[in-house]
Symmetry: C2
Subunit: 220 residues, 2 copies
């Protein structure tokens, strides 16, 4: 499959490129194509040339992707989706985007009026694009480190069964990562708010590379 | 310590009574004192007479408690706190209350304008009462079953350091339960919204007695 990483030159983009390049064709996108090409070379170097990874501008990446991941901060969601409006076809768009702020030592969840970044994106992007909300709480440092298995769960929201199953499959390709169905896209706010909560807990309890795991209480 | 369980005749109230009766004097409260007395007898029976557990009306329970736990559904928060307004002194009040609804197979987080049940309670209850938000995601079935250790974390929000530490201590008295600091009371919304999210995940992924655990991603 061809997977575009929109704004994919940062930690989370590199992490996905590293984890999926063995099975998929990865297209790193950036506002500056040159920066994306450098990032693609760096990922290729780490993988010792295994896997197909290219870098290009965001629009070209999106046009060529069957799946696209929005590796952008919430602040760019509106401008990026508007700038790219000519490049959508029938992709599956994955949103790990979280609207949050940091004020007075506290991360706060600051959802838009739509209730979540994913619901807002739904309103900005053509209907034919299927949006799946996922990977909000994945630890970028662990994702980038191929020696690590990931113990934190991926909570997935979306309205299209087929697209959701595809994202489940992509999550399972990352060592030990477990996807869980967290409901329709309208439930995305409850999942997105985990990220600022986790960041607060990590800071206050001196936890490193924090993630979230759903457990079942069992009899001993 | 004397711990009042306001509306404590249900699953979660019985659970706390069972878990804490070894170290504390438990006062189960209910709108109907008779119902609370029956519940106290039942808990005593399970504990084979070990521990001091009494039942009374909510106002008397609150008046006698140094710590009080609001074991009530969100729908009763406003009326219970108003009805009990003459019974507050300088208690530490623990709120595990979660504002949520169930519509079209989906649990939704429905916070009041204050942002959370705990923040709303803060506005309804005298200033001298210290409010701590905690135990929202604890599994009532596991809490009631003394043979079980609890693996789900307790995420604690509050503005008073001493009260927070006391609640940490109470959590630690429950076998294997781990309290984590999730920030000030203003962060309670992010924690309260975990409950409807967990209920959705449990339903959709066929998980039993679900809880949430914060993990650290580690190198293998």
């Amino acid at each position: 499959m061809k997977i575009a990483l929109i704004g994919g030159t940062g930690d989370i983009g590199s992490g996905f490129a590293l984890r999926w390049a063995g099975q998929h064709e990865m297209i790193i996108g950036s506002r500056k194509a040159e920066k994306a090409r450098e990032s693609a070379l760096e990922v290729s170097r780490i993988l010792e040339g295994k896997g197909k990874i290219t870098g290009t501008d965001n629009a070209t990446a999106l046009e060529n992707g069957e799946v696209a991941v929005l590796c952008i901060p919430y602040e760019h969601l509106s401008s990026v989706t508007t700038d790219l409006k000519g490049s959508y076809s029938d992709q599956i768009l994955i949103s790990p985007v979280v609207p949050m702020s940091f004020k007075g030592k506290l991360f706060e969840f600051t959802p838009p009026s739509a209730g979540s970044a994913a619901a807002q994106a739904r309103g900005l992007i053509p209907e034919k694009v299927r949006i799946i909300s996922a990977f909000h709480t994945i630890c970028a440092a662990a994702l980038q480190d191929l020696s690590r298995a990931l113990k934190g769960d991926v909570l997935v929201c979306g309205d299209d069964k087929e697209a959701k199953e595809l994202v489940f499959g992509l999550a399972k390709e990352i060592r030990e990562l477990r996807p869980l169905d967290a409901g329709p896209l309208s439930a995305s706010g409850m999942v997105e708010s985990l990220t600022p909560m986790l960041l607060n807990i990590a800071r206050r309890n001196r936890m490193k590379d924090a993630g979230i795991r759903i457990i079942e209480e069992r009899r001993l």
